[in-house]
Every structure is written in structure tokens, then in C-alpha cells.
């Protein structure tokens, strides 16, 4: 490899040291949480590339469709990954998508239709504040009651879905609102959150950039900031982290606010893209996000995982979905497929992690 490998006298120790380092580098790669998801994404792609070859799986159009599908789920999954590494769950994120989306719609909907007739940006701002408040509320309840976040957010899942439906209907008598493109301020929002760019004739949505950008920011935070270290610490052992001065409660509340922010962002992207929203938006997306995160190698028990893994987890999810659509397999089978992928991925990840820990 190098030019000066001639065994100089007394050069033996450094040579053996070098070998040690190489071994540990290989096993370090193996011990990365996202490894399973990256390998899995390649396998799933190859599978559909063969099975759906005649259906043009290997094409720019299909690639764009997959990425467009993966982006909103991926945005949620990245935030959920941070939260799960921090040792908590958020089942309410789908309801937050619905609630934030309807907040934007009701505030900007014309007054004669039961809305408030605001222009779009103030409505967006209020929706953001509302979403962050919901996230704070989740986090506050979890750290003060010390109940499992699974229970707390299961409750808020129902509370906020119910509020979305009840308040929207109370105010507008509908469950679906549209015509967002007629609200002032829509142009800029459209450019930022729903525009498309064309590469090789295929249309990619700007949400993909948000998705990838968030994954990069999240990865940087996790691996290169104090706060990232605190997230791993809070999830790994909250008491131990507390005893060395990590503000565990603040970290957890911030993480719940992060997932709520992701829910808001997805709600905004979808409201602008579809120029409207309905009260069931985001329904069951909490489960899809958790699946993407777990497939991405994050431990359910916290303290271990990655945002890049969540990105690939969302990609696998979208590939399976798109693959099933274009091969013309009955969509009824989709959930069977997803469940199977989940179980296989978790078993595979556990296997890899145990191998890595045994060095």
C-alpha cells in the first residue's frame, strides 16, 4: 500500500499497531447503526430492479416517485429517530400533522366559509407555534409524570386528532378545506415547500431537499455537538446522565418539540402541495415513521441509533410502496410486506450489533 514497507530495524511495533487500527476501523463501520438500513435499501432496490424490470423500475421517473414519496415520511422519521435515541416515543406525530395542517387551513380559509381569512404566512406562524406548544406539552407531561411516553403520546394522539376533527367541523362544517392557492402569500410558500425541479425529465419535489438537509443537520447535531451527546446520554441511561450534569428533562422536552416541528413541516409541505388539507391527514404516519426509524437501526430502548439510518429507513419504505404500485401487485398486500420488512430488519440489526459488540 505504502512505498516504505521495507522492514526497517525496530519497525515491527508500529506495523502491528497499524493492523490493530485497521481491524477496529472495519468493525467500527460494522457497528454503525445505519449499516443494516443501507444494505437493506440496496437489497430492496436490487429486488425490485429484477422483479419490476419490465415495469421500468430503473428509471428517473420511478426514482423521482420513490424520493417524492420518501421525503415527508423521512422528515418525520429523522425527528422521531432523535427522540427515540433520547429514549422516548411519540405516537402523536401523525395527529400533529393533522392538527397543524388544519390550523393553517382554518386560519387562512375565507370567513364566509367559516375560516378566519388570514393571509398565509401569519397562519403558518401560528401553526408552528401551536405545534411547538403541543410538543412542549407532550414533553412536559412525560418528564413531570414520569409515565412512559408511549402512554402520554397515545393519549395526545387521540386528543389532537379529535380536536382537529371537532374544531374544524365546529367552525367550518367540513372535514376538508381547499383552495389554499387563492390565499395571499401562497406563491412564496409554494416555491419553498412544494416546487419541483426537473432532472433528466423526471420531476423531483423540493421536499427531498428538506428531507436530506434535515438528515444532515440532525447527524451533525447528534455526532458533533454537546446536545447530541446529551441525547445519547439521556436515552442510554437518564439517571447516569443526570448525575454528571446533563439537563435530561430539557433535552427530552426539546426532542418532543423537534418531532412536533417535523409534524408541522410535513403538514405545511402537504397543505401547500395539495392546496388544502383534511382532518385525517397524517393518520397512522406515526407508525410509518417509527418503522422507518427502527429499520434504520435505532434501538427501541434508546441510546443508540442514527438520523442517516432513518433516512434510509424511509427510503426502503417508499421503495416497497412504489415497487408494489408499479408491479401492479394488489395494494392490499402492502401492509404484509411492510410488517415483514420490519421484522427482518430488526432481527438483522440486532445480529449486526451483537457481532459488533463482541469484538
Amino acid at each position: 500500500m505504502s512505498t516504505d514497507t521495507a522492514p526497517a530495524p525496530g519497525a515491527a511495533p508500529p506495523a502491528s499497531d497499524e493492523r490493530l487500527r485497521e481491524v477496529s476501523r472495519a468493525s467500527r463501520l460494522l457497528s454503525r447503526p445505519e449499516l443494516g438500513a443501507v444494505v437493506g435499501a440496496i437489497l430492496v432496490w436490487v429486488f425490485f430492479a429484477i422483479v419490476a424490470f419490465d415495469n421500468n423500475f430503473i428509471s428517473w421517473a420511478t426514482t423521482a416517485a420513490i424520493l417524492n414519496r420518501a421525503a415527508p415520511l423521512g422528515i418525520l422519521a429523522i425527528a422521531v429517530a432523535l427522540l427515540m435515541i433520547g429514549g422516548e416515543f411519540d405516537l402523536s406525530i401523525g395527529s400533529i400533522v393533522g392538527f397543524a395542517g388544519m390550523t393553517i387551513m382554518v386560519l387562512s380559509f375565507p370567513t364566509d366559509g367559516g375560516g378566519f381569512g388570514w393571509s398565509l404566512w401569519p397562519a403558518i406562524l401560528v401553526a408552528l407555534i401551536v405545534a411547538l406548544a403541543v410538543g412542549w406539552f407532550n414533553g412536559f407531561l412525560v418528564v413531570t409524570t414520569k409515565l412512559p411516553s408511549f402512554i402520554i403520546t397515545l393519549a395526545t394522539l387521540f386528543i389532537f386528532r379529535g380536536l382537529t376533527i371537532a374544531l374544524t367541523r365546529l367552525r367550518t362544517n367540513r372535514t376538508q378545506l381547499g383552495n389554499l392557492d387563492e390565499v395571499s402569500g401562497f406563491g412564496l410558500a409554494d416555491t419553498l415547500f412544494a416546487s419541483q425541479f426537473t432532472i433528466f425529465g423526471a420531476r423531483f419535489r423540493v421536499a427531498i431537499l428538506w428531507w436530506v438537509g434535515l438528515a444532515l443537520v440532525a447527524t451533525w447535531v447528534l455526532l458533533r455537538t454537546r446536545q447530541g451527546n446529551w441525547i445519547f446520554g439521556a436515552g442510554g441511561d437518564a439517571n447516569a446522565a443526570r448525575s454528571v450534569g446533563v439537563p435530561v428533562n430539557r433535552v427530552k422536552i426539546a426532542l418532543f418539540m423537534t418531532t412536533a416541528f417535523a409534524g408541522f413541516l410535513v403538514a405545511l409541505i402537504q397543505a401547500v402541495q395539495f392546496t388544502g388539507a383534511d382532518t385525517l391527514r397524517g393518520f397512522q404516519q406515526e407508525f410509518e415513521a417509527i418503522i422507518a426509524v427502527v429499520v434504520g437501526g435505532t434501538l427501541l430502548t434508546g441510546g443508540y441509533g442514527s438520523a442517516i439510518g432513518a433516512l434510509f429507513g424511509a427510503l426502503i419504505f417508499a421503495m416497497v410502496q412504489q415497487g408494489i404500485i408499479i408491479t401492479g401487485v394488489d395494494g392490499d398486500w402492502f401492509q404484509v410486506f411492510v410488517g415483514t420488512v420490519l421484522v427482518v430488519a430488526v432481527i438483522f440489526n440486532n445480529f449486526v450489533r451483537q457481532k459488533a459488540a463482541q469484538r
Binding site: L20, S24, R28, S31, W220, L223, R224, T225, R226, G228, N229, W230, F232, G233, G236, D237, N239, A240, A241, S243, V244, G245, V246, L299, G303, Y304, A357, R359
Partner: protein, 292 residues
């Protein structure tokens, strides 16, 4: 090195009551810089309560607490920590799935850069972890190794090295050898001596006289919340210490214990003696180093 100067940390006539329960009564103890004070006692003797008083978790009901000759009244462990009184608990503040260097600096991460671009200075953290562990005589091959893959003794040593690095003047160790095998316990005892040689006052809590004897400069023996004895090493041969630790039980139970020890503990006793010997020679070596 020993026997000189005022105590670094001292408690005088400390009592701690929980309602009607007398956990500690009229307990006095001290540690000097560069010395090891061993607190010995059976289960229920009041060791944990005493640690909690020393580390600032509990306020004593009666009595005085001096650090560096100045009377103190701590409201929280954080107050004590800021003075340089660090406690390493038996169930360590370590996160198994995190790497050694991330654990080492958890809660006190070094940063570089500014504003929103302030980032965790991981190179510094890795380098320092390796250096600090080397100072304790531990070669961490790979600071990226997770703490979960370290042995129990190594984990204790990381915790001790961390406390020392973050400026501990007094180190309170809560049964650091309790869950360890003979060999691993020896490793930890070695680091206790290392810390001592760096001028730290060490309070070492244990119920095992064989672990206490090789490292301690003096012994405080607790029984039922009272100080049963306070000796320097010169005053107290190991046999007497062992006897004292067993003395609380009535004669029959003692005899039973001894018989059992003779029957099945022969091999263990032998290897313990071996460790003790190894530690003694290590101790001599360290003393020489310390005197340089």
C-alpha cells in the same frame, strides 16, 4: 507523604436520623490529601448514609463538616462537586452503549467554534481520554470502544479517571470492588493508589477487609451507625481487621463462616493473598515514584 497537615475533608460528631431511625450516631472521620481512608462496615452499618452525607445528598442532623479547614453545609451533590468532592457510585454513571470518550466527557463536553456552529471538540476529547487513562496506567486501545465492552474493573477506572480529570480533590468510592472478581478488584485497587499518589484524598467504602488493607492509610470501622474503631494501618494487622469485621456476629455464626471459608474458600483465599501481594509490590513501586 502521609501523616502531615490538616485533614482535607473531615466530619466531626455527625449524626443522621431518619425519623426515629438512627442511621449514624456521633461519627467522626477524616481524609488527608494523598491518603486513603477506608470506611468498613457490614450491610446496614450506615455506609451508604455516610457517603450521602459526605457527597452532599443528605444534610447531617447533627455535627460538623469541614473541607480544607472550613465548615461547609451543602445543599446538593452539585455544591460538593464544585468544591472538588467527587463521588463514584457503585452503579456507575456510565452509559454502556456510548464510547469511552463520549462517556468520559458526558455533561462537560469540550467545544470549539462559536454561535450556532459551536461543535463538540471530539479530537480533543479522544486525545484527552486516552492521555488521562494512560496516566492511570490503562491503555485504552480505542477510545471509540463502547463502555459496555469494557470489563467491570476498567469501567470503574474510567469513572475514577474522569473524576480526577475534572478536578476532584477528594474521591469518594462506593464499594468499587464489590461486584468484581479478584483480579479485577486488584486492577481497581491499583487505580485507587494512582489517584492517591496524585495527591487526592480517597475515601474508599467497602465491606471487604482484604480489599481495604493493601491500599488504606487508615481505617474507620462502622457498626450499627457508630464508629466501632478508628486505626492507622500501623496499629492494625490484617488479621485483627478481618476479625473485627466478623466480630459483630455471634460466636456460632462466626465459627460457621470460618468453617465454610475453610471448606470452599481455600482457592479464593489463596488468590486473594496473591493479589494482595501483587498490590503491595505495586504500592512500593508507586511509593518510589511518588517520592521522586
Amino acid at each position: 507523604m502521609s501523616g502531615n497537615g490538616t485533614p482535607l475533608l473531615e466530619i466531626r460528631n455527625v449524626s443522621k436520623y431518619f425519623g426515629s431511625v438512627i442511621a449514624l450516631e456521633d461519627v467522626s472521620a477524616f481524609v488527608r490529601a494523598g491518603e486513603v481512608t477506608c470506611l468498613l462496615g457490614d450491610n446496614g452499618a450506615g455506609k451508604s448514609t455516610l457517603i450521602k452525607v459526605l457527597s452532599g445528598v443528605h444534610k447531617p442532623t447533627k455535627g460538623n463538616y469541614f473541607f480544607d479547614g472550613v465548615e461547609q453545609s451543602f445543599n446538593s451533590p452539585r455544591d460538593a462537586l464544585e468544591m472538588g468532592i467527587a463521588t463514584v457510585y457503585q452503579d456507575l454513571a456510565m452509559i454502556p452503549l456510548m464510547s469511552v470518550w463520549r462517556n468520559f466527557f458526558l455533561g462537560s463536553e469540550p467545544t470549539k467554534g462559536w454561535g450556532p456552529f459551536k461543535s463538540y471538540d471530539s479530537e480533543f476529547a479522544k486525545k484527552t481520554t486516552k492521555e488521562e487513562m494512560a496516566k492511570m496506567g490503562i491503555d485504552i486501545r480505542d477510545p471509540d470502544q463502547t463502555v459496555g465492552t469494557l470489563s467491570g474493573g476498567e469501567r470503574q477506572s474510567v469513572a475514577i479517571a474522569r473524576a480526577v480529570y475534572f478536578g476532584a480533590k477528594v474521591l469518594i468510592l462506593d464499594e468499587p470492588t464489590a461486584a468484581l472478581g479478584v483480579k479485577q478488584a486488584g486492577v481497581v485497587l491499583k487505580y485507587i493508589l494512582q489517584a492517591r499518589n496524585r495527591g487526592i484524598g480517597v475515601i474508599f467504602i467497602t465491606h471487604n477487609p482484604h480489599h481495604a488493607y493493601p491500599v488504606a492509610d487508615h481505617f474507620v470501622i462502622l457498626r450499627r451507625g457508630l464508629v466501632y474503631g478508628d486505626y492507622t494501618k500501623a496499629e492494625l494487622p490484617l488479621e485483627q481487621l478481618v476479625q473485627m469485621m466478623a466480630g459483630g456476629a455471634d460466636l456460632e455464626a462466626l465459627q460457621h463462616e470460618l468453617e465454610q471459608a475453610a471448606r470452599e474458600g481455600g482457592a479464593e483465599a489463596e488468590s486473594l493473598a496473591e493479589t494482595a501481594q501483587a498490590i503491595e509490590s505495586e504500592l512500593d513501586e508507586l511509593d518510589e515514584l511518588g517520592d521522586e
